[in-house]
Amino acid sequence: MFDALSERFERLSTSLRSRGRLSDADLDDALADVRSALLEADVELGVVRAFLDAVRERLSGEALSQSLSPGQQVIKAVHDQLIEVLGGAPLKVTYASRPPTVVLLAGLQGAGKTTAAAKLAAWFKQQGRQPYLVAADLQRPAAVEQLRVLAEQIGVGVYSDNSNPVEVARKGVAEAARLGRDVVIIDTAGRLSIDQALMEEVHSISSATSPHYTFLVIDAVTGQDAVQTARAFHDALSLSGLIVTKLDYDARGGAVLSARGVVGRPVVFASTGEKIADFDLFYPERMASRILGMGDVLSLIEQAERTMDPSVVAESAGRMMSGTFTLDDFLAQLNQVRKMGSLGGLMKLMPGVTKEMRTAASNVDDGELNRVEAIVRSMTPKERRDPSIIDGSRRTRIAKGSATSVSAVNQLLKQFGEMRKMMRQMGNGGAPALPQGMGRMASLAAKARSESLPAGFEALGAGMASAASTPRGGGSKNKKKKGGRVTPPKQR
């Protein structure tokens, strides 16, 4: 989402890096660029001003560092400030001592509340909870039906009736208690923030159910209006936090900053795609790193951890790095990846992935993955281990067996060859992009830190180190019970 912003700061950093000391004029220039970048990213004007003031203060308060270039110093200040705004006052979801824990979702029409409600339920389920959904959006035609369909997909019960939204919410919570569910998520009707009648309705729902958490669902493509919306809802409902949706759009997502800046409550969850699995906690440090073009390695690893079978991953990742990756490994990885949701979403999180690669990846659909799988499955075990033996007649046979064409087979083999080459390079210490590469990356970062790494990246270095020490591909998986923690501890 912040990709464009990252690009912008990248340019900023190169132009500043080429200069010597940071003069007042330099600072003005740099901040003007930051201002444009933020405005183009739809950050609200007032929030932009406050943000720039804070960055300026950071820079003027600090003595000009001898070890940092001016550009690095500006970037560090922007980075730190972003983390502070995005990640200040993190929210930790705790569960009510007398269940159920009630969660109320509110938001504008079309922000994605109903989908977010289902995704949130799936998330709670994954945390080992027994969620229950309440469809209190009686306004939009078929909204209840939509929630029912989604709930069925994730195996969660839904309560609704035709009475009125407040009654539905009240009865829904009671029903959840009766059924012994420990988390209730209430979906409410979308509203315009200025619609008094609906605003009062959601307020009544809130009074009737005394939710433990009230989240505002906000669309990442929102423009300047984000502050008005956030403020209006905060005034009416006293929000606990925000859920950002549509982060898979290529919007720059400044609305996140705007809303955060105006209500002073944290962004807790982020939704990054249409699939139920495309939903996770929001990580401010990672997001800030991503703004600075560092990629979001931590999210990637965690996502992988959650959906991938560690033994399969470890095994093939090891071979990947040693360059003995086979088509069997490829197939295993493919199936793991498929479990993780969209490939495009994944690529977005990786550092060093170009926009073209990302576009290409986001266009890989399930049908294509199916075809690839069919082709590989039509090969003999020997061929899978050593694709170099696949000659013309074998290709024809494989094409027939997989109901594809020889050219499709050729293409796959070519891509596989390139992939293998790339992986061998990675194994030799090239682009760090995969779990096994992380250890190397962290040690590099630690080393660099001790040798006057631009201080702006200290946090990143620490983040990487902790990522590397986080159990993952290596086999163990004791991170399971992260339980209620919703925002990771600050990495300092």
């Binding site: 444009s36 183009e40 990213a41 739809d42 609200e44 079309g110 315009l192 919007a251």
Partner: protein
């Protein structure tokens, strides 16, 4: 560092039923601009006010800078408001007429495209009412086969507006739904087909390719696509430009329906879209009622952008 960055939010306009109503009473920032004295040269302070007004309306940095540039070079002899108004209006000069008249033997189709959650289905409901009121028989094609219960939502609109509907099961091929709809409309001598499509993000070539296909199917005889309307949420920021570009390329968008303009958002980004891409706004959604859809009026729109 306080938790809250900004405590003063710009004032929220009072609840208004329609755009006209909203335009009438309060014009705070507009007055601020108006109060700026006319002159050949504008002070930086005057320019800063203009900049703020425009940026806050989501007009975007590029358009705002272009306006400021013009003000710097040409001044504002007739007052700053008039100058800004004229500059913005000069970008809004597209053809806003819509067509319901297909070739002999063809069925007119209006296709609705856009990202998720902008109000496509609701817009179709409102336009169905409009066509119905104008004495046309309407058939709705439930081409959104992806979102859970989207067809149910459209069906309720069909009942409300006394329209016919063609729908299929979830996950069905949207092209086949549209194809069936056109076929049925032709057989039953229906005056116009309004075809819904699934909301899709604008940065996925596959999803856009699928849309191109739906459009091709709809345009095949006896169908004829007369309008492809991009439904755009007024709260959208700069991403709207990307949306317009991509949907234009994929489905030949002929106009925009700007929805949710009854909220506090201004939808200023459509100025950049019309100027850069030549896609005009044709309708504006101003409420949840079935009649809350009006024909876009550039002057009213620009006035509302500059008002508070």
């Amino acid at each position: 560092m306080p938790d809250v960055l900004v405590t003063e939010v710009t004032s929220i306009p009072s609840l208004a039923v329609s755009l006209e109503d909203r335009l009438a009473p309060s014009r705070g920032v507009f007055d601020r601009v108006r109060s700026l004295s006319p002159g050949e040269r504008l002070s930086e302070e005057q320019l800063a006010v203009v900049e703020e007004v425009l940026l806050r309306s989501d007009v975007g940095l590029a358009t705002t800078n272009a306006v400021l540039e013009q003000l710097r070079s040409h001044g504002a002899p007739d007052g700053v408001t008039d100058a800004v108004r004229a500059i913005l209006l000069s970008s809004l000069n597209g053809d806003r007429t819509t067509s319901t008249q297909a070739d002999e033997g063809r069925v007119p189709v209006w296709l609705f495209v856009g990202v998720n959650g902008v109000g496509k289905t609701t817009t179709i409901g409102k336009l169905a009412k409009r066509h119905h009121d104008a004495g046309r028989s309407v058939l709705l094609a439930a081409g959104d086969t992806f979102r859970a219960a989207a067809a149910d939502q459209l069906e309720q609109w069909a009942i409300r507006t006394d329209s016919d509907i063609v729908r299929a099961h979830e996950g069905a091929d949207p092209g086949s739904v549209v194809h069936d709809a056109v076929g049925r409309a032709s057989a039953r001598d229906i005056d116009i087909v309004l075809a819904d499509t699934a909301g899709r993000r604008a940065n996925s070539t596959n999803l856009l390719d699928e849309l191109s296909k739906v459009r091709r199917v709809a345009d095949r005889a006896p169908g004829q696509v007369l309008e492809t309307l991009l439904v755009l949420d007024a709260t959208t920021g700069q991403n709207a430009i990307t949306q317009a570009q991509e949907f234009l390329a994929a489905s030949g968008v002929t106009g925009i329906v700007l929805t949710k303009l009854d909220g506090t958002a201004r939808g200023g980004i459509v100025i950049a879209i019309e100027r850069d891409l030549g896609v005009p706004v044709k309708f504006v959604g101003v409420g949840e009622g079935v009649d809350d859809l009006i024909v876009f009026d550039p002057e009213e729109f620009v006035d509302s952008l500059l008002s508070t």
